[in-house]
């Protein structure tokens, strides 16, 4: 079933347009609520704080159709054109344009782990899924509401109480190039039981492998946008632990607006690493909610926009209860005419005494045309907390380049070494060895092409 969404004319949209024979009826009420938010929201633009730094022109005047389910022959073409990270013994699931194309029944799933397509959720799973969806909370970003309104597909990952899942779950999100402006949607819902452990890798990759794309060499600016709307929601029960990686390695034409929301119970630990490379626009809203005492969140991220790309991270950390820790470090290297936005907010609620929160953002601008907008923000209503935040924007240190040159290292290599050095500390902290070495090679290659 196909439908068109024109962002300037949303009033006439009806839920029936989004639904198809696969749409579960139990999702309908929340979809309806999300649709209402989507319809009543202001159109994104420069005058709206949340969209201030984004060029949203691509939304206007475009009519998006839902990305069709990939055909069997396409699946192979898209998968073979992509590069997976080789992670030994990982449970690998592949999505194309948001559609799950892996056969869940064919997987060897360890005890304590359960993987279910959202459409196939049983009664208790339905309740669990609905608890993750909150159109009111997401109404700051109408595209998140649109995801809720239209999205039926995705995966529910459940980890049983006390289960220590040593096998990483590796989600590969691929996208195909399409002929029309199209819209894809997807949800990943993680439900971790008490004292459980999980490693989750989300890898987003767009390919331009279709033969027509190569033959005609389309002008990049005229390439129809594939707008991917993706939401990941993680619920961590008491004392549970997740190591989470979210890697966006996209082509210049890719557009993604997404959200990762985590709810931390008592003593829960969230370790999250983000990487943004490529994309016409890649905007990720990261929401972390400390809802149980003594929870810990370690959030690190690296963004590397080049050419005319735009990469944004909007983080919102809510300390709702006392004694929780947040350690947030993001670094960006902006090349060519690219731009980036880092919007980092830490919100300490009135009751959240003894909160310990640290937020730091550093940016390196490689050219005079590169742009970064950074806004570290602390909103504190408790009076006994330890909080710090800071941001810097700088160019490469000319003296450091010269110093390396006087040791025989040419200017290009010197700049590359200094750029990698700028983010090295964050790379060193990556615990999962295959991801670490994959990224080391990728960044080495990437930095070799940066002037």
């Amino acid at each position: 079933m196909s439908y068109a969404i024109d962002f300037l004319n949303r009033d006439a949209l009806e839920l029936s347009q989004f639904n198809n024979e696969l749409s579960p009826s139990w999702l309908a009420p929340i979809k309806q609520q999300a649709l209402q938010h989507f319809k009543s929201a202001k159109t994104p633009g420069r005058k709206i704080e949340h969209w201030k730094y984004n060029d949203t022109a691509f939304l206007a005047g475009q009519s998006f159709v839902k990305a069709p389910a990939p055909q069997p022959n396409e699946i192979e073409a898209v998968v073979s054109a992509s590069q997976s990270i080789s992670i030994e013994s990982a449970i690998e699931l592949t999505f194309i344009d948001g559609y799950l194309v892996s056969d869940l029944n064919a997987l060897n799933v360890p005890e304590g782990l359960r993987l279910t397509a959202i459409q196939n959720a049983d009664d208790s799973q339905q309740d669990a899924i609905l608890a993750h969806l909150d159109p009111d909370f997401d109404s700051k970003n109408l595209l998140l509401n649109l995801n809720d309104a239209m999205c039926d597909k995705g995966i529910l990952i459940e980890v049983e109480r006390n289960a220590d899942i040593s096998t990483p779950i590796y989600l590969r999100h691929l996208s195909s190039t399409s002929e029309n402006a199209s819209l894809s949607d997807n949800k990943v819902i993680v439900e971790q039981g008490e004292s459980s452990r999980l490693t989750l890798i989300e890898h987003f990759e767009s390919t331009t492998s279709t033969q027509t794309a190569q033959e005609t060499q389309p002008d990049k600016s005229n390439q129809p946008p594939l707008l991917a709307l993706q939401k990941t929601s993680i619920n961590l029960a008491a004392n549970s632990h997740i190591d989470h990686y979210r890697l966006n390695l996209e082509q210049d034409s890719a557009t993604q607006v997404s959200q990762v929301k985590s709810l931390l119970g008592k003593d829960a630990v969230l370790n999250s690493f983000y990487l943004g490379v490529g994309s016409k626009l890649n905007r990720t809203d990261i929401d972390v909610i400390h809802a149980g005492q003594n929870a810990e969140c370690n959030l690190t991220g690296i963004y590397l926009p080049a050419n005319e790309q735009t990469i944004d991270y909007h983080t919102n950390i809510e300390h709702r209860v006392p004694h929780c820790n947040t350690n947030e470090v993001f670094r960006g290297i902006i090349a060519d005419k690219a731009s980036a936005t880092f919007n980092g907010k830490i919100h300490i609620f009135q009751d959240a005494q003894k909160s310990d929160a640290f937020l730091n953002n550093k940016n390196l601008l490689l050219t005079n045309q590169a742009e970064v907008n950074t806004k570290p923000e602390l909103e504190i209503y408790a009076d006994d907390v330890k909080c710090a935040h800071g941001a810097t924007i700088a160019k490469l240190d000319e003296k450091a380049v010269y110093y390396l040159q006087t040791r025989g290292i040419n200017q290009r290599q010197a700049k590359k070494m200094l750029s990698i050095g700028f983010i090295q500390e964050l790379l060193n902290n990556i615990q999962l060895e295959p991801v670490k070495s994959y990224l080391a090679n990728l960044l080495d290659e990437y930095m070799s092409h940066i002037d």
Partner: protein
Amino acid sequence: MLSIKNLHANVEDKNIIKGLSLEVKPGEVHAIMGPNGSGKSTFGYVLSGRDGYEVTDGEVVFDEKNILELEADERAKEGLFLAFQYPVEIPGVSNMEFLKASIDATRAHQGKEPYDAVAFMKLAREKCKAVNLDQDFLKRGVNEGFSGGEKKRNEIMQMMLLEPKLCILDETDSGLDIDALQVVADGVNACRNSDRSFIVVTHYQRLLDYIVPDYVHVLSDGKIIKSGGKELAHELEEKGYSWINQL
């Protein structure tokens, strides 16, 4: 080895080096002394090819090549080494990675194979020991959090590794206590041989007790106004820089 004739150089359109000439033969140690603002550091930067240091006149021939046409890294690969007065801190780039990249580039230029990781480690450890630096320094960021003395010893270690033809030591003695000075001087003296030359730039005669020069030159207002043997350094120390202005 090095022949400088009538060198003039500007920094931000200001004329700093004003007709400097100097001949250095293989194996010689030349000391350049002078008061603050005489152009000592600028001289090192101009020779090593720092951006923004513009040569307006004169010539510099190093090992029969006109090096003024070369980039800083190319000059380094030809065998010119500058030990910095203030070595730069580079967090995120490990000393080891830095040294390996430096040696690899230099050896590639000389048509030599790069060291393998094991051989390089062995060499780097050996040189660390020679300048009394703990091996942990190899793992740390380049000069990151090093004390003044550690930074200077790191410079000398690089010099030992790169085996340059000409070493310019820019106020290597500044900020060093007597013990550190001894270590640095021992490192330099160990590198002295009949082919390798040194230009030792300093304020104070003290360093020249440890690194004994063949020639001493006095730099004032961008040119050499007096040259002599090592005894000139003692005379300067005794009479002060105001003495030379009366010459």
